[in-house]
C-alpha cells in the first residue's frame, strides 16, 4: 500500500486543449479520495493519468515513493474499476478475476485462493463459471470490483463505477464499496459527478471545475465552508441559494432592498450572498433573535418529498429562484408570502468576479 502524490499535473491535448491545468493532490496511504465535478471538468482525465491510460503532459506523479510518469499501466501497481465494468466477455468470471494475476506469474494455488476469497467477500462465488453476459448489472459490478481486489494493489481507481446501476442498487453498492475500502485499507481514488456519492464515500473531497481544483477538504468542511460559489452550488441538494448583494449607504442590501447585517472586510461593493435552503428559516417557526437576514418570500412552487418540502419562491421582482427547506408537514400555497430569516453564521459571501469565498467577520455591531 502506498500514498499517491500528484504534483502540478497538466494534460494538454492536441489542438492546445488544456483538460487538466496543474493539479496537486497529496493522497495519504489508505485514504479514500473522491474527485467530483461536472462533466468536462477533467476528473476522468486526471484519474486516467494516474492509471497510465493518458500520458502526463507536465508535472510529476508518485505512487508510493516511485515516480511513475512513464511507467506502463500494468506496472503501476494500481487496479481500476471502469464505468461500464469492462469485463472480458469471452472469459468466465473466474478467469476475469484471475487474468491480471496469471499475467503476473503468480502461482496457480495462490491465484485460486485469492479468487475464492474475493468471490466470497463479494458474494459472487456461485457465478465463477459463468460468462459476464449471463450476469445482471449489479453482479457485473461486483465482478469488476473483484478483479481489482484480487490484485491487492497499492491503490484502487474507480471511474464512475456506479453510474450504470439503478438508483436502489447504487445506494447499496455505495455502502459496500465504502465498507470494503475501509476493511482493506487500500488507498482509493474515486471519480463521480454525483455529489451525494462523493459526500458519502469520501474521506476527502476534491472538487474540480474547468481543469482546476476548486477545493480539497472533508465532505463536511466542503459543505459548511465552500471555497467558492461554484463549490457552494455544486455540493448540496437542493443547491445553495445565491443572491446578489450590494453595498449602498454603508449597508449591504439584497435586490429587494432588504438589509443584511454583516460585517465584511472587503473593498468590493458587489458580492454574492449564499445561503443553504435548510438555513433559511420561516420566521413564524423560529426564534427571532440573532438573525441577520430578514426578507419576504413569495411562494411559487412547493415540492413535497415526504419528510420535508422544497419551497421555491422569489424575494422580489425579477429575483432568482430561492429555495427553502421546510418541514414536510407544513402546507404552503403558491402566492403566499412568507417571512424568511437566516442566522449570521449560516451566511456565505463570495466575490462576484472570481467566485472566491469572502469570510464574514461577524454581525454588524449596531450601537
Amino acid at each position: 500500500m502506498a500514498g499517491i502524490q500528484l504534483n502540478t499535473l497538466r494534460k494538454i491535448y492536441a489542438g492546445n486543449v488544456e483538460a487538466v491545468k496543474g493539479i496537486s493532490i497529496d493522497i495519504q496511504d489508505g485514504e479514500f479520495i473522491v474527485l467530483v465535478g461536472p462533466s468536462g471538468c477533467g476528473k476522468s482525465t486526471l484519474l486516467r493519468m494516474v492509471a497510465g491510460l493518458e500520458t502526463i503532459t507536465e508535472g510529476e506523479l508518485f505512487i508510493g515513493d516511485r515516480l511513475v510518469n512513464n511507467v506502463e499501466p500494468a506496472d503501476r501497481d494500481i487496479a481500476m474499476v471502469f464505468q461500464n465494468y469492462a469485463l472480458y466477455p469471452h472469459m468466465s468470471v473466474y478467469n476475469n478475476l484471475a487474468y491480471g494475476l496469471k499475467n503476473r506469474r503468480i502461482p496457480k494455488n495462490e491465484i485460486e485462493s485469492r479468487v475464492r476469497k474475493a468471490a466470497e467477500i463479494l458474494e459472487i462465488g456461485e457465478f465463477l463459471n459463468r460468462k459476464p453476459r449471463q450476469l445482471s448489472g449489479g453482479q457485473r459490478q461486483r465482478v469488476a470490483m473483484g478483479r481489482a481486489i484480487v490484485r491487492q494493489p497499492a491503490a484502487f481507481l474507480f471511474d464512475e463505477p456506479l453510474s450504470n446501476l439503478d438508483a436502489k442498487l447504487r445506494v447499496q453498492m455505495r455502502m459496500e464499496i465504502k465498507k470494503l475500502q475501509k476493511g482493506l485499507g487500500t488507498t482509493s481514488l474515486y471519480v463521480t459527478h454525483d455529489q451525494l456519492e462523493a459526500m458519502t464515500l469520501a474521506d476527502r473531497l476534491v472538487v474540480l471545475n474547468g481543469g482546476v481544483v476548486e477545493q480539497i477538504g472533508s465532505p463536511i468542511n466542503v459543505y459548511e465552508k465552500p471555497a467558492s460559489a461554484f463549490v457552494a452550488t455544486f455540493i448540496g441538494s437542493p443547491a445553495m441559494n445565491l443572491l446578489p448583494l450590494t453595498k449602498s449607504g454603508g449597508e449591504w442590501k439584497l435586490d429587494n432592498g432588504a438589509t443584511v447585517d454583516v460585517m465584511l472586510n472587503t473593498d468590493l461593493s458587489d458580492l454574492i450572498l449564499g445561503v443553504r435552503p435548510e438555513d433559511l428559516l420561516i420566521e413564524e417557526l423560529s426564534e427571532k433573535s440573532g438573525s441577520d437576514l430578514h426578507t419576504a418570500l413569495t411562494v411559487q412552487v412547493v415540492e413535497p418529498v415526504g419528510a420535508e418540502s422544497y419551497v421555491h419562491g422569489t424575494i422580489g421582482e425579477g429575483s432568482k429562484d430561492v429555495v427553502v427547506r421546510a418541514p414536510g408537514k407544513l402546507h404552503f400555497e403558491p402566492g403566499q408570502v412568507l417571512k424568511v430569516t437566516a442566522k449570521p453564521e449560516k451566511l456565505h459571501t463570495f466575490d462576484t468576479k472570481t467566485g472566491k469565498r469572502i469570510e464574514i467577520e461577524g454581525p454588524l455591531e449596531t450601537a
Binding site: 492509471a51 500494468a74 471502469f82 461500464n84 469492462a86 469471452h90 487474468y99 491480471g100 499475467n103
Partner: protein, 293 residues
C-alpha cells in the same frame, strides 16, 4: 414472430419467385445436370451418351494427376487463406493504432477493394510478367531465375502471391471494423492487467475478433477454392501445360478443353461433396469455439 397477412395466398410465393428462379436456374439445375452427366460417357462431338455408372468417378480417383492437383489445391488454398488473413489482420491492427491521419491511411488501404476483381488479377499478373513485371525483375535481381509458366514452383508462387494480394483489402476492412468494435474500456482494462501488448492481443483482442475471423475464414476458403479461377487462368494464359492448377480449374480444363464432359462432371460432383462436408465441419467444429457476445 410477426405474422404478415397477404391479400392473396399466392402473393408470398410470387414475391419469392425471382430469387427462387435464380437459385433454380443457376444453381440447382446445373448441379442436377452435373450429377446426371457424371454417370454418362459423353461423345466429344455431341453425338450421344452412354450410361457408364460409376466409371467416371473410378477414372478420376485412380488418375495420379488428379491426386497431384488435389494436393496442390489443398496447399494453395491453405496458403492463400492463411496469408491473406494474417497479413490483413496485421495491417488492420497497425491501422487501428494510427492516430494521425487515420482516415487517409484507411482509405488508401481499402482503395484496392474498389478495383474490379479481374482488373486487380490482371494487374497482379502484370507485376509478375516475364518481360515487363517489376516483381519478376526484382526476383532476377535477387538471383532467383523466376520463370512463370515454365517452372512449376515459380508459377505456383506467383499464383499464390496474386491471390493473397487481391484478397487482403476485403479482409482488412472486416478486421478493421471488427477491431473497432472491441470496446475501448476492455482494452484498457487489459492494459492494466497485462503488460505485454502482444499477449494482450492474443488473450483479449483476438478472441473478441473471433466472430469476424470465423466469417472471414469461410469466405477466404471459398475464395481460394473457387474464385481464384480467373487469376490462375490469367497466370497460365490459358496454356496450363505442366503447371499447377486447382481442382476447379481442372474441371474447366477437362470439360471444355479435353471435351470429357462426363469426367469433368464427376469431378464437380466430388467438389460439391467436398464443399458440403467442409461447410458442415466449419459450422459444427469452429462455431462452437467462437464467442458471440
Amino acid at each position: 414472430m410477426k405474422r404478415v397477412q397477404f391479400s392473396h395466398p399466392l402473393m408470398p410465393y410470387m414475391l419469392l419467385l425471382p430469387q427462387l428462379s435464380i437459385v433454380g436456374v443457376f444453381f440447382l439445375w446445373p448441379a442436377a445436370e452435373a450429377i446426371r452427366v457424371s454417370f454418362y460417357l459423353e461423345d466429344p462431338f455431341g453425338f450421344g451418351s452412354t450410361f457408364v455408372g460409376l466409371d467416371n468417378f473410378k477414372d478420376v480417383i485412380s488418375a495420379s494427376e488428379y491426386s497431384r492437383t488435389a494436393w496442390f489445391t489443398l496447399i494453395f488454398s491453405s496458403a492463400v487463406t492463411f496469408f491473406s488473413l494474417s497479413i490483413a489482420l496485421l495491417l488492420a491492427v497497425k491501422a487501428d493504432k494510427v492516430i494521425k491521419g487515420a482516415s487517409i491511411h484507411r482509405t488508401l488501404l481499402m482503395w484496392v477493394y474498389a478495383i474490379a476483381p479481374p482488373v486487380a488479377g490482371l494487374l497482379g499478373v502484370m507485376l509478375f510478367d516475364q518481360h515487363i513485371g517489376p516483381l519478376n525483375d526484382l526476383a532476377h535481381a535477387l538471383g532467383w531465375n523466376m520463370q512463370i509458366g515454365v517452372n512449376y514452383f515459380d508459377t505456383a508462387f506467383a499464383m499464390t502471391v496474386i491471390a493473397v494480394w487481391k484478397q487482403i483489402p476485403i479482409n482488412f476492412i472486416f478486421f478493421l471494423s471488427g477491431l473497432q468494435s472491441v470496446p475501448k474500456s476492455v482494452q484498457e482494462a487489459a492494459a492494466v492487467d497485462c503488460r505485454s501488448s502482444l499477449r494482450r492481443f492474443w488473450t483479449v483482442t483476438f478472441p473478441l475478433l473471433a466472430p469476424t475471423s470465423f466469417f472471414l475464414l469461410i469466405i477466404n476458403i471459398t475464395y481460394a477454392l473457387f474464385d481464384t479461377f480467373g487469376i490462375i487462368d490469367l497466370v497460365l494464359k490459358g496454356e496450363p501445360g505442366n503447371n499447377p492448377v486447382t481442382l476447379v480449374y481442372k474441371v474447366f480444363l477437362d470439360g471444355f478443353r479435353g471435351n470429357d464432359l462426363g469426367g469433368s462432371s464427376a469431378q464437380s460432383v466430388i467438389l460439391m461433396m467436398l464443399v458440403f462436408a467442409l461447410t458442415v465441419v466449419q459450422f459444427r467444429m469452429i462455431e462452437r469455439r467462437v464467442h458471440y457476445s
